[in-house]
């Protein structure tokens, strides 16, 4: 649910990084925060437990080039991945415009990936949204580890909804795939909001 303020000439979008615990959602935001130029980012806020597990959310506002004189801000949020924090995840999803589903590629985490994706769909429905229409992408993270499932299998497992969505292989700690993921979901959110003009070929 974007917010357009014609007086302040600002457009705000909310993008939520969702996925099972320890999949690398916070690592995505930390890398973005570390690497973006100062003018394109705000302060990163992390509400975490003492051992750095996300308790409520991480928050990072970012922006690229504006649109027709309007500043476009993308507010990036993560959710806590552990199953028992579902109330909190639901609160963070409020007003979401786009989702990055961060999956853990390791064989022994695939069950959690599937459960988290199902949980995302359930929670979105409470806001009248669903994955068939909401802009979203999938990031298969931790591709550098030895015990990971092949990409085809992950796609079969997690990207078999009504539409096939863009996906990215990533090593979020090192930044591989992080900006491709962010830029693609940002683009999808913009197209959903404003539409895309057909190019005229001469």
């Amino acid at each position: 649910m974007s917010i357009i303020n014609y007086a302040a000439r600002v457009i705000n979008f909310k993008i939520v990084y969702y996925g099972p615990g320890m999949a690398g959602k916070t690592a995505n935001l930390q890398y973005i925060h570390r690497c973006l130029p100062g003018d394109n980012k705000g302060k990163m806020i992390s509400l975490a437990t003492g051992d750095d597990r996300t308790l409520f959310f991480d928050f990072l506002p970012v922006s690229a080039v504006g649109v027709r004189g309007f500043t476009t801000r993308f507010q990036l949020y993560t959710v806590p991945g552990q199953p028992h924090y579902n109330m909190t995840r639901k609160l963070v999803l409020r007003g979401v415009d786009g989702v990055v589903f961060v999956a853990d590629s390791q064989w022994d985490r695939l069950r959690e990936d599937v459960e988290s994706l199902r949980n995302l769909d359930d929670n979105l429905r409470e806001y009248g949204l669903d994955l068939a229409t909401l802009p979203h992408v999938i990031q298969y993270n931790k591709r550098d580890l030895g015990s990971v499932a092949p990409l085809d299998y992950l796609e079969y497992l997690l990207n078999r909804g009504m539409r096939h969505v863009p996906f990215f292989e990533a090593v979020a700690l090192e930044g591989n795939g992080v900006f491709d993921t962010l830029n693609t979901v940002s683009r999808m959110v913009l197209v959903k909001e404003f539409g895309q003009a057909q190019e005229v070929r001469s």
């Binding site: 917010i3 302060k43 509400l47 649109v67 409020r94 979401v96 683009r187 913009l190």
Partner: protein, 161 residues
């Protein structure tokens, strides 16, 4: 619960700004911030202009949402007011409507009772303005035509330094 888009046109912004300034003057609060419950700031007045409103909005909305969820666990629809008392500055958050909240920051030049009283009035007035904004078209003026592929690419091109 299906949420409405929030669009604030220039005339609505001026009315909201006037209500917030009146609230500051009546209640003697130092700052007022109108926030969408998803965490996005909509308008601000007073010393709120010097705050990191993005961070304040995200945290205040989260605190208010968590409190509302707590209320539901206790069988209430929500706690309509949230109050944090500090040594110098205090914060009062109250419900405007289903989608927005009003945050006031004040110090010992006023009292919680005064802030609560005038916040209630301000929330009702802002709620009425927001109700009108929902009937207005969302994309007008320069935003009325679809973006070109190049505009979309540039606006979504986040790059490491």
């Amino acid at each position: 619960m299906r949420l409405h888009d929030i669009v604030i046109h220039e005339s609505d912004a001026a009315r909201i700004d006037a209500i917030l300034r009146r609230f500051l003057s009546d209640s003697n609060s130092s700052a007022a911030l109108l926030i969408d419950r998803g965490g996005q700031p909509l308008a601000e007045a007073g010393t709120a202009r010097t705050l990191d409103v993005g961070s304040v909005g995200a945290l205040a909305a989260a605190a208010f949402s968590a409190t509302a969820a707590l209320a539901q666990l206790l069988g209430e629809s929500e706690f309509s007011v949230l109050f944090h008392e500090g040594v110098k500055e205090s914060m009062h958050v109250s419900t405007v409507d289903e989608q927005t909240i009003l945050l006031a920051i004040f110090d010992d030049r006023t009292t919680i009772g005064m802030v609560r009283l005038f916040a209630r009035e301000a929330c009702a007035s802002i709620g009425a303005v927001l109700e009108e904004t929902r009937k207005r078209p969302k994309l007008v003026g320069v935003l009325a035509t679809p973006l070109t592929a190049e505009e979309t690419r540039r606006a979504s091109d986040h790059r490491p330094a």
